[in-house]
Amino acid sequence: MTDGPISRRALLAGAAGALGAQALERAGLPVPQDPTKVPGTPVSPLGQRSPFERPRRVPVGTGQGISLTPLQNLSGIVTPADLHFERHHAGVPAIDPQRYKLLIHGMVERPTMFDLEALKRFPSVSRLCFLECSGNGFPSYRDIRPDLTPQLVDGLTSTSEWTGVLLSTLFRDVGVKPGARWFLAEGEDAAVMARSIPLEKASDDAMIAYGQNGEALRPEQGYPARLLVPGWEGNANVKWIRRIEIADRPFMTREETSKYSDPLPDCTARLFSFAMDAKSVITFPAYPVTLPDKGWWEIEGLAWSGRGRVRRVDVSTDAGRHWAPAELQQPVLPKCHTRFRYLWTWDGGDTTLLSRAADETGYVQPTLDELRQARGRGTTYHFNHIRAWTVRRDGTVVFGLEG
């Protein structure tokens, strides 16, 4: 992951995400005193956000950087496509959909070229699922600072409704040869991003996606078509996909050896750690929010697991001494963001808020210490430990355990 300076202004603007009427008027946008006394604006071919709403990603680094989703500004589980996080290794390519082609070859009966129209002619499927960069949460593990927002801690996860063709459908068409075990997915970006994926994922739920939240993919998300391997680390969901080569073993590309492998404390490193384990983060209250007074507050957040459904989320409002189940917004979908809510009466004292997700495999989100025991302090991906927000007596909220 590329680290770089994040301006405090960008950060606070992103965290607030909304503007006041006076600011808008200063910017030349008239806001009537009484909207019932003047006709409103006419119909238009393309809707816009209310000018009062200014949610923004936070871009870090240039070219092959990251841009984080403002989790604290979202409601529900879907991430608007223009706020979906970005991570790419050599910029966003411009691809003409008329010239776009996907090649499937290697251990197949019929090496085949598909254009976008051909891909769309196959029976299609839609599903909601999250996509998360495996480096998400890096600062909460290796660079804990009180002034981290939900966006800066965990903004490399987003949920969309994806539409496309199942890889199993395409693979039946090309005829996979016996003995095949893996396939290479390769992008048409300047990094020619390449990852090896076990063939079982193709028979399970992998797809070539061309639709996102009711429209074509955004360029940053792989326009016109990308691989989607639900529940697996973001990098394996190769964007701008142009080639799939089927083989009997993995290819050992740079992105699955030098990068996206996990050093362990026993002096080994884990290869092909695809699945994103269960995780949750409270998005309210969180830095830089200040609670104006004690009393009723709804704690809110997101939970997800790359292995299936979130079974439960427990919340602690006393630094982990007691836990109680949060309410999960239905429907809870497999491998998808799940919103949780917990009604809390703040007594006005210093305390720490925690959330802990469990998934349907029986996996429970570990503490920071448990994860460090298992992975070591030097590991670089898959930081799914419990996050903490400390609420101070004056109502300010900061990231991490205090004291």
Binding site: H89, T112, D173, R242, A269, F272, Q373, R377, G378
Partner: protein, 194 residues
């Protein structure tokens, strides 16, 4: 059972259930095994895009290069981003061996991964430089240039001799220092934290 037989059985099963439950006037058709919407890819099309290189050398093109030639290309095309000796940055450090006889990346957050101390396969170096470097002109290097740069970086990492020539036969035989350190993912869900 062949895929075709399986599909036939599935088709029958579908038709069968349709007869039982279909609304009046509803017609459902069984999905075929193949739709045939793509078109055959030509050998030339496959060749143009098939750039990957595997650990056994599959995919390596003809050509060769040695460290001395690589040094000159490196100075011109790579040093600005990776440093004069591959250690100065500003981008990824390419040269460095871990003097400790261990592999303490999990334990030591300060340790920087390099080709010499972390990469398991030498062939990956060819594959990656060829597909993605230099960052500002990706895909611009000829096979002899890539082999030369690979030889240069492997020799600077003290993995091969300064004079060794890298080609499709020699490169797959280079054993990387960290080769035996890599294990498969044992996480499976369930209560254990791994």
């Amino acid at each position: 059972m062949s895929l075709r037989t399986l599909a036939a059985i599935l088709a029958l099963a579908l038709v069968g259930s349709t007869c039982g439950r279909a609304e009046k006037g509803e017609v459902r058709v069984a999905a075929p095994t193949r739709y045939g919407f793509g078109r055959p890819a030509t050998a030339a099309e496959v060749r143009a895009w098939d750039i990957d290189v595997m650990p056994d050398g599959t995919g390596l093109p003809p050509g060769s290069g040695a460290a001395s030639q690589g040094a000159a290309i490196y100075a011109r095309k790579c040093a600005a981003c990776h440093g004069k000796t591959g250690t100065e940055g500003p981008f990824d450090r390419l040269v460095g061996r871990e003097p400790r006889e261990r592999f303490p990346f999990g334990r030591d957050p300060r340790l920087v991964k390099t080709i010499g101390n972390y990469w398991p396969y030498a062939t990956t170096l060819y594959d990656y430089i060829n597909r993605a470097m230099p960052l500002d002109a990706p895909g611009s290097l000829k096979p002899n240039e890539v082999y030369s740069l690979v030889a240069f970086l492997l020799s600077r990492n003290e993995i091969i001799a300064d004079t060794a020539v890298m080609n499709a036969a020699t490169l797959p035989r280079v054993v990387m220092p960290a080769h035996d350190r890599f294990v498969t993912d044992t996480r499976r869900g369930g209560p254990e934290i791994r």
